[in-house]
């Protein structure tokens, strides 16, 4: 019962209720009997009207009315006046029912049904709606009906846009009107109708309109989401772009191999340390795409002759689309000269066919050139595995000394400045609009929505003009910290945004990333092959991001943060060692992205919250039988059903080292399960397995 006050129980109320109920029940019983016996006499039809006027939600009675109409039409189809009067009676009844209950689905649909039959005048409908909508301007049934009527009478979208304008002018606090405006405007802009073909002009107009609303009452949410949509329209890249790849264009990749005869090189960002039978080729677009295959992307190299690569979308569900795609390149097992660098040439967009979810096609033929050489491991590295146990202790990580940094050391994060026509140059109008909005919202930055909008505007501005620096990143971080205090109920939202902003800053350029890179020197310190670890620990990150800058990372320390999920981590195809210890991971399904990291060998998820929460917030983001998103049939096997989430994520991984201690789920039974499901495991929680 919506909005009805709770009243103490009184016997006289109860008696009145029973009396009323008896009357209604008598009507209902008689009606149901008429319905079953297909009784469509005038008396019976009138009885159904009486019932619906009291209880418009009685859906069976609406169905009966439709049957009665059809019955009566077949018996009087020749007389147009009679036909019209039959339908007019239905419209009258609906109007009465709606007065009783404005939200009755059955009544609204009955009206649509009548109108769709084409015997009634539509002209009256808009007038009726104006009446209803002035009583309740937010009723979504009325709005839906309005869209239905507008389309039935072919009313122009320009006229409907004017209607939303008139409502907003009357009272800007009308989210429904803003919503309808967004639908109409998007259509008009798409169709490039007169007055709507110049995006910058339209947007400038709309910014002005919504700004007025936001500045009149900054706590009223009606314009908030509309403004965010305008911002999105302003900065949206209207084409499909490749934003990153691994290997990067122009890079030299060294792959450790046993079968090489000669050795060279020391620590380098481009040495593939941990796996040598294959290496991944990763392409990262600005939007989710489909159609990446061996004909749209060609790879030529002596090392990969006559082989069609199999491209896989990196997505955690049934999707055939993804922002990131990977193909594995097999390295031949025959002896190869290690001194030789084998050139690779990859053409992305060789033939048409890569298209984005947003409807754009990849219209370039982007050339990526890199070379691969094979390098023997220094000591007794077993092929394809990490040697020894990785111990994530500070004393094992050593900073690069400036003198030791090779002059030619390249962090392979250079994006694809290889095709100048691809480079999205900010238009003057985009900058101007953002400048103007930033100026305006600085004035509103005393309140929550003012601050939040300013942070978003500054972030968008930096993204648009970020060739050299992120000019506003410190300011953005400061705003999000302020928001956490100002609006504590949503502090975790701001914290997530803060984390993403911080990661953009940390990963922005070579220098800032290099500060976070260290050499790992484990127990076998005589070994001078030292993996490079990116340490993003102790940053109180609640969320990960900027993956397009991290495709090269093989060893990543994310420990002692506040991560709840690792959404997006599947892009890091080279990852072999991952430390997630001391975070807030609540379930194995939250680790779903690991399922796609085929190079992963060392995983530390100790001291998280796995097994603590009855509610699993990633239950539907991880492929499982619940969402019909498993590649293979789920076989109900008693030995795994108790730990089915862990089974789904871990099976197929070649982990050699795993730490799970400090999670509620970790007990003797779970350990036994892990040993069974991870046959390559050598270390489990510091214990060497036999």
């Amino acid at each position: 019962m919506h909005g009805r006050p709770r009243k103490p129980f009184k016997p006289e109320d109860e008696a009145a209720s029973v009396a009323k109920a008896q009357k209604l029940r008598a009507l209902q019983s008689q009606f149901l009997s008429n319905h079953i016996h297909k009784n469509y006499t005038q008396e019976a039809v009138e009885l159904s009207a009486a019932l619906l006027e009291i209880n418009p939600e009685s859906y069976t009675a609406w169905n009966y009315r439709k049957l009665a109409v059809e019955y009566n039409l077949t018996h009087s189809a020749s007389d147009p006046d009679l036909v019209k009067s039959i339908f007019d009676e239905e419209l009258r009844l609906v109007e009465n029912a709606l007065r009783q209950n404005f939200k009755s689905y059955g009544a609204w649909y009955h009206r649509k049904w009548v109108l769709s039959r084409g015997h009634s005048s539509i002209e009256k409908e808009l007038r009726l709606l104006d009446k209803f909508q002035s009583l309740d301007s937010r009723n979504f049934h009325a709005w839906n009906y309005r869209r239905f009527v507008a389309s039935l009478m072919d009313r122009s979208e320009e006229d409907e846009l004017k209607y939303t304008q008139s409502l907003i002018d009357k009272n800007f606090s009308n989210y429904s009107a803003w919503h309808n405006r967004s639908v109409l405007l998007a259509n008009l802009m798409k169709k490039r109708r007169e007055g709507f073909s110049q995006k910058d002009e339209v947007l400038t107009r709309e910014y002005e309109l919504v700004r007025e609303a936001l500045f009149t009452d900054e706590d009223d949410q009606s314009g908030w989401f509309y403004h965010l949509w305008l911002l999105d329209q302003t900065v949206k890249v209207e084409s499909l772009l490749l934003v990153a790849s691994w290997p990067a264009h122009g890079s030299n990749v060294a792959v450790l191999r046993e079968s090489c005869t000669d050795g060279f090189a020391s620590s380098s960002f481009n040495v593939l340390q941990f796996n040598s039978k294959t290496f991944p080729l990763v392409v990262y677009f600005n939007e989710a795409v489909e159609g990446v295959n061996s004909s749209t992307v060609t790879v030529s190299s002596k090392l990969n002759k006559d082989k069609d690569l199999i491209w896989k979308p990196l997505s955690s569900n049934n999707s055939r689309t993804a922002q990131v795609w990977v193909a594995q390149i097999d390295l031949p097992s025959t002896q190869l000269q290690s001194s030789e660098a084998y050139p690779f040439e990859v053409i992305i967009g060789q033939s048409q066919g890569i298209t984005s979810v947003g409807g754009f096609s990849y219209n370039y033929a982007t050339r990526l050139a890199f070379s691969v050489c094979l390098q023997p491991p220094r000591k007794e590295h077993t092929e394809g595995s990490v040697s020894g146990k990785i111990v994530w202790r500070d004393e094992n990580f050593h900073a690069f000394e400036p003198c030791c940094v090779e002059p030619n050391l390249i962090l392979p994060i250079d994006l694809l400045s290889i095709n100048s026509e691809q480079d999205p140059k900010a238009s003057t109008w985009q900058k101007e609009i953002l400048d103007e909005e930033i100026k305006n919202f600085r004035e509103l930055s005393f309140c929550k929505i003012g601050k939040l909008t300013l942070a978003r505007l500054l972030t968008a501005y930096d993204a648009l003009t970020s060739s050299y620096k992120l000019a506003h990143s410190e300011e953005v971080l400061k705003i999000y910290s302020d928001l956490m205090k100002l609006d504590p109920s949503h502090s975790q939202y701001y914290k997530d945004e803060y984390s993403l902003a911080l990661l953009r800053q940390v990963t922005f350029d070579r220098e800032s990333l290099f500060c976070r890179c260290v050499k790992y020197m484990g127990l076998s310190s005589s070994d001078d092959h030292h993996p490079i670890c990116l340490r993003l620990h102790k940053l109180s990150l609640s969320r990960m991001g900027s993956f397009e800058k991290l495709l090269w990372v093989q060893m990543l320390d994310l420990s002692q943060n506040e991560l709840r999920s690792i959404e997006g981590l599947e892009a890091m195809q080279l990852l072999a060692c991952l430390n997630l210890s001391k975070n807030k991971i609540g379930s194995f399904t939250a680790l779903g992205p690991l399922q796609q990291l085929k190079s992963l060998q060392v995983l530390d998820i100790s001291y998280n919250e796995i097994g603590t929460h009855p509610v699993d917030t990633t239950r539907y983001l991880c492929p499982s039988p619940l969402s019909h998103s498993l590649a293979s049939e789920w076989n109900q096997d008693d030995s795994v059903t108790s730990f089915w989430e862990a089974f789904l994520v871990l099976k197929g991984l070649k982990l050699t080292q795993l730490d799970v201690v400090g999670n509620r789920i970790a007990d003797e039974r779970f350990s036994q399960f892990l040993v069974k499901v991870l046959p390559a495991l050598k270390w489990l929680d510091d214990v060497q397995l036999k």
Binding site: Y59, N144, L228, E567
Partner: protein
Amino acid sequence: MAELAADKHVKYIISVEKRKDSFENVVMEHLRMNGVYWGLTTLDLLGKLDAVDSQEVIQWIMECQHESGGFAGNVGHDPHILYTLSAVQVLALFDKLNVLDFDKVANYIAGLQNDDGSFSGDVWGEVDTRFSYIAICCLSLLHCLDKINVEKAVNYIVSCKNVDGGFGCTPGGESHAGQIFCCVGALALTGSLHHVDKDLLGWWLCERQVKSGGLNGRPEKLPDVCYSWWVLSSLIMIDRVHWINKDKLVKFILNCQDIENGGISDRPDDAVDIFHTYFGVAGLSLLEYQGLKAIDPAYALPVDVVNRIFIGR
């Protein structure tokens, strides 16, 4: 802070069935199937499903089934997809899906899919994304999703997505938390959550929390206990539930209890009903309130019931 008056709510739910002659009950008679689902799911979450005679309920449910395979809201009424899902859910609660002819029910639902992928609620053709969710949920519980064109069904739902990240009844319809639950739920059940802009929708949803701690269903509307379910379950499915203040919401729901007579209302001091009692308790379950069974955010059934059907334990 008040605690959950679990025993009172159990008594209230059982008493609703007995007060058949009140006006409220007669008005709601046509949707008794929904009422039974709300009441019994609440009892199960409270660990008291055995307080009802399952045989009696199952027999009544089966009396509501029509030749078409669909279920009516009550005996004598017409079949509709709304009540077909409730019937299947209640049978699932009792672990009695086997009394159904799966093909018959599934064919009824599959027959309601339109060429554009949408679903009608019944033979009269009203289209709404609520019915898309219901069809997908119901067929999934019956392991019969292959009877419909899932890809088209998903595409239709995606065509109802708005610029605020939410979803409406039909293309162009305004976002509404109840509708968002249906669309996000349907996408979740078909492994299609990649169509959701989680950050955009998450922000819209988390801004449904008002100062009192309660949630509303659209911007600038009053809070209502039922959105504890619609908003929370959607936030959970897209992993953004940490963006609201859970403690304040728990308080709001508990404040809507009728401590004396049991039941939960839409807002503090309003009249209670079975619908809000269910959404209040289910909301508390999603908030990990102690002593309640966990509820699945997509199937709207206790997690143990869902796992029994899909995982096998």
